[in-house]
């Protein structure tokens, strides 16, 4: 289409005298609007124009100055052709005449103008822009936080230089998968290193906890690892102070972590200092470790030389049965582990004690790579906590989805808004704006929004990272280098999202012919609506699934809290009863002292409380129903005579342990109903009087108790044995009358101090131990709440964008309805109906996902609720409510608008 130069006096109407200079000035301004013509070119063209005008007047071709002017302008050529011709040679001119600098300066100014107009454009709809930015920023932040956590979990133990060459030795007895142990006996470490050339180094670790006395301060439950000197050869625990070759050689040597050094010695040099261990012996500090990365499956506060354990627990070191150690091997690069495994079998068959091999015919050792331990190991007796791979996969998927949805939303909202600006585009095209200019405008607006979101996300991420660390209980802090990478990634993402969302209006809108755009014909953008509807359904489907999941988690937790456990867990105070050789006297004295207090109703001593730690498995043989001595590895629970009473556990056959029977002190065993079944007996009475054999000595079964939950309700009740073993007591349980609890606690502390002045009064209520069991599940519930809120927010954003767009399309229709007498209410309902339909569809999509997903989570509990339709319905109802609220602003606005304006023909 040809655009003529503006006719400057046409608007002023007839009768105004023609001013040539004025006309030429206007013409010049018009021509200068294209950047392809520089000032020099303008001068040349103007000079040409004037010659033409003179010639036309002189030769009579034009009757008047005005006519001559128009004639001359036409002769120059139409704007479009001229513009294109000049553009063609533009850059050659720039380089030839060295105008590059000037050109860059001009472009910078243009950029500044772009930004100014962009900001103005955004300020016109501040709420919209803010919501858009915040929505994208939120999605990015969530994704980043998840990414950080997942990255942390996958990076465990990778900081060791030889990580790929380190393996752990596991013990398999093949009595079942519960009998694959991460622990081994002490003998294997040095044996393997000596006998197998492929084993470059071996190191044994033994987990323990110390109490340290320093001056008048006492520190309890310090996690330590006994370690061979070869530790520093195998693992990359660098010593900041001390000599790796000697730090762990001498007995009673301590190597401290940074935290331990700071705690005990402040900033002073700890080397050579001593600390008193367990009130028994002084140990010397021989080294301080450099800071250890948080992502390590080996967690400890101090290292102690293995020679110490050899001296103190010598019997552990030539014993074929005490699997108290964790053995790691350093292999050469690219070692053939399968071949080594075969050699290992042969070696074990050769060297292991014969009675061991006879007892466990399938006894063998297996190698497990270090890098697989944290996330992939399913062995028992791990040296530290292991991570949960399923959760990681779940989180990764959620993270990707959240980001994807946020980006899609951003693009949706941007394009929905740009459709409103069709008129603006039309007008600008009429005055000659180029496609590139228009497209560039949209693109820069979208990029600006996107980068603002990136900046916000970076800030939010930085602020929230400490919270995530606390929430997950792990140190997730990042180095500045990591921040650089993260920022780089974000910028690329921001660029991508900005370009993608800006490109739709940039390409599509700017290509429309201005007339059709002005008339409001944007049919092709209706194509976008179908896609948007699908996206909204998808987003709401995910939200509903997450809401339902959250509800299920909390319902399950409440169910667990209300479960009868088989014993009375109310008002039970557990007191740590320290020391090794406690003995019967000590515990009886303590119980008597406490029972004197009026608030103490019952007292008992035991190894630990139900659901406490320390429920180790013991090897025990019991006469089974066929008369054979059946081997089993089941928890054995040392208790005293008051235990069953205090905890309210019923005896279903035989009798409880009692001091009236002399044999009960040494030879009696109580089992639970599950144990009865395990050994093949039909009725509890049948097991009474049967023989058992275990350490330190055997005897007969005297009683059967009703099953009670001594582990978390994730597990069904396993077989359990209980006997009188005072040397193993570690906990005092008091049943209290909790009136005046504050006073009572003070009194009890006083009593404790009189009994054990050297030990701290360390206690916990059983209810709290119980709650702690499900801490992980509680955390999961909290996490789901957060994700659900996030998903719903983002889904609402998407719905908001869709609503804005479609409602606007129907402005004329609404105007007509109103003019025909429809009420605002009926119109609001009409508009909202569509969107409610979408949410209903997303319910159909999301509910099954929630059902199957949560059902499989519930199956990990031996005791669980089922996913009820009520819960699902509640989630759906909530979603519909939120959707209505979101849409209502737009539909209400449209319904109450003046129909005259809506029907205005433009």
């Amino acid at each position: 289409m040809a655009y003529d130069a503006p006719r400057p006096n046409a608007a002023l109407g007839r009768g105004t005298p023609f001013n040539l200079e004025h006309a030429i000035a206007t013409w010049r301004r018009f021509m200068a609007s294209t950047h392809a013509l520089i000032a020099d070119d303008m001068d040349e063209l103007e000079s040409h124009l004037r010659e033409e005008i003179e010639e036309a007047l002189a030769s009579g071709k034009a009757p008047s100055v005005e006519a001559a002017y128009h004639y001359a302008v036409r002769r120059i050529g139409d704007f479009a052709t001229v513009d294109e011709a000049y553009r063609h040679v533009f850059w050659d001119k720039i380089f030839y005449d060295n105008l590059l600098l000037r050109e860059l300066h001009w472009r910078t100014l243009m950029l500044r103008n772009y930004l100014k107009t962009t900001f103005r454009g955004l300020k016109r709809r501040p709420a919209f822009s803010l919501i858009n930015i915040f929505g994208l920023a939120l999605g990015m932040t969530a994704c980043l936080l998840i990414a950080r956590y997942v990255q942390h979990e996958w990076s465990y133990d990778r900081f060791h230089v030889h990580a790929e060459q380190i393996v752990r030795v596991n013990t398999h007895t093949d009595l079942g998968p519960e009998h694959e142990s991460a622990a081994t006996i002490a003998l294997y470490g040095p044996m393997l290193e000596e006998a197998l050339p492929e084993v470059l180094k071996s190191v044994r670790l033994q987990k323990a906890s110390f109490s340290i006395v320093q001056d008048d301060r006492r520190f309890e439950d310090i996690p330590i690892l006994f370690a061979d000197t070869t530790l520093f050869d195998v693992f990359s625990f660098d010593l900041q102070r001390g000599n790796p070759a000697t730090a762990l050689s001498e007995p009673f040597s301590l190597v401290l972590t940074q935290e331990a050094a700071r705690r005990h010695f402040g900033s002073a040099d700890p080397i050579g200092q001593t600390l008193n261990v367990n009130g028994e012996v002084d140990a010397t500090v021989t080294g301080v470790l450099a800071p250890i990365p948080a992502a390590s499956h080996l967690a400890f506060d101090m290292l102690v030389s293995m020679s110490t354990s050899q001296q103190v627990n010598a019997w552990l070191f030539n014993n074929w049965y005490s699997t108290q150690f964790h053995t790691y091997l350093l292999l050469p690069e690219n070692a053939d582990q399968a071949a080594l495994q075969t050699k290992l079998h042969a070696l074990v068959q050769q060297r292991a004690a014969s009675d061991l091999l006879n007892r466990y015919p399938n006894y063998h050792l297996a190698l497990e790579p270090l890098l697989g331990i944290y996330l992939f190991s399913d062995k028992i007796a791990q040296i530290g906590p292991t991570g949960n791979r399923t959760y990681l996969y779940l989180f990764t998927v959620i993270g990707v989805f959240v980001l994807l949805i946020a980006c899609i939303n951003f693009m949706n909202l941007s394009t929905a808004r740009s459709a409103e600006r069709g008129k603006e585009v039309g007008v600008r095209k009429m005055v000659g704006a180029q496609r590139i200019q228009l497209g560039g405008q949209f693109l820069s607006e979208s990029l600006l929004l996107s980068f603002l979101a990136v900046g916000t996300a970076a800030l939010l991420f930085h602020l929230m990272l400490p919270f995530l660390s606390g929430f997950m209980g792990k140190d997730l802090s990042l180095t500045s280098q990591d921040y650089m990478y993260g920022l780089g990634f974000l910028c690329v993402l921001g660029l991508g999202v900005g370009v993608l969302s800006g490109s739709y209006p940039a390409l599509v809108l700017s290509s429309f012919s201005p007339i059709s755009v002005l008339k409001g014909r944007l049919e092709s953008s209706m194509r976008g609506t179908g896609l948007r509807r699908v996206l909204v359904v998808f987003q709401f489907g995910i939200s509903i699934a997450l809401i339902a999941a959250t509800l299920v988690v909390f319902a399950q937790l409440r169910y667990l809290a209300e479960q009868p456990l088989g014993f009375d867990k109310e008002q039970l105070l557990l007191i740590d009863f320290p020391g090794n050789a406690v003995g019967a006297q000590s515990s009886e004295r303590a119980k008597a002292a406490f029972l004197q207090h009026p608030a103490v109703q019952q007292a008992t001593a035991s190894l630990t409380s139900p659901m406490g730690e320390g429920f180790g498995r013991w090897n025990i043989t019991v006469e089974n129903v066929s008369g054979d001595m059946q081997e089993a590895s089941i928890p054995n629970y040392p208790i005293d005579f008051d235990f069953l009473d205090t905890y309210g556990i019923d005896v279903v056959a035989g009798r409880p342990l009692s001091e009236s029977y002399q044999t009960d002190f040494t030879e009696a065993l109580i089992v639970n109903e599950a144990a009865v079944a395990h050994f093949g007996y039909a009725r509890p009475e049948d097991i009474l009087g049967k023989r058992f054999e275990t350490w330190p000595r055997g005897g007969t079964v005297v009683g059967v108790i009703r099953d009670f939950n001594f582990q978390s309700l994730h597990e069904s009740i396993a077989p359990l044995t209980m006997r009188y073993l005072p040397s193993q007591y570690g906990t005092l349980s008091l049943r209290l009358n909790t009136a005046n609890l504050g006073e009572t606690m003070q009194d009890l502390e006083g009593i404790w101090k009189s009994l054990k002045p050297d030990f701290p009064f360390s206690y916990q209520f059983l209810d709290d131990t119980f709650a702690a069991q499900y801490a992980r599940d509680q955390a999961l519930g909290n996490l789901f709440t957060i994700f659900a809120a996030l998903a719903i927010f983002i889904a609402s954003l998407g719905l908001f964008g869709l609503a804005t767009f479609t409602i606007q399309k129907r402005t004329k229709e609404i105007g007509i309805r109103k003019a025909l007498g429809a009420s605002s209410t009926s119109i609001t309902v009409l508009l909202s109906k569509d969107f409610v339909k979408l949410v209903v569809i997303s319910f159909v999509v999301g509910a099954p996902v929630a059902y199957f997903g949560m059902q499989s989570w519930l199956d990990t509990f031996a005791y669980h609720i089922s996913v009820s339709p009520l819960l699902l319905g509640l989630a759906g109802g909530l979603a519909i409510l939120i959707a209505l609220v979101t849409v209502s602003t737009q539909s209400l606005q449209a319904a109450t608008a003046n129909p005259v304006e809506a029907l205005h023909i433009d």
Binding site: L45, S47, H48, G77, D78, A85
Partner: protein, 107 residues
């Protein structure tokens, strides 16, 4: 139709003396008997291109009592280029006139 014929025409005109755009257009119009009316908006960009190729140079002239005009002058490079163009066009002319059976008429 501008395209490839512009260069030899412009170079030839400039060979005969420096001149400015308007004059060039008028001259061409005259030489062609009104058949070739070049549009100014199309000519000037070509002149600029030839300038960046080093075939011609430009300079402003402000005469007494007259308006500023941008004059063009052919360069040595332009002269050589013209010679080459001339060869090519004459060859083309020779071929075409034989094909069209027209009496050869060299200017």
């Amino acid at each position: 139709m501008m395209a490839v014929s512009v260069r030899p025409v412009v170079l030839s005109i400039l060979l005969q003396g420096d001149t400015y755009g308007y004059q060039i257009i008028k001259r061409v119009s005259g030489l062609s008997g009104g058949a070739m009316e070049w549009a100014a908006g199309s000519l000037y960009p070509v002149l600029h291109k030839m300038r960046t190729e080093g075939l011609i140079e430009a300079y402003w002239v402000q005469e007494e009592g007259a308006r500023k005009r941008k004059y063009y002058r052919i360069t040595t490079k332009g002269v050589r280029a013209l010679a080459k163009e001339k060869q090519q066009w004459l060859t083309m002319h020779h071929v075409l006139t034989q094909l069209w059976d027209v009496e050869p008429r060299l200017t």
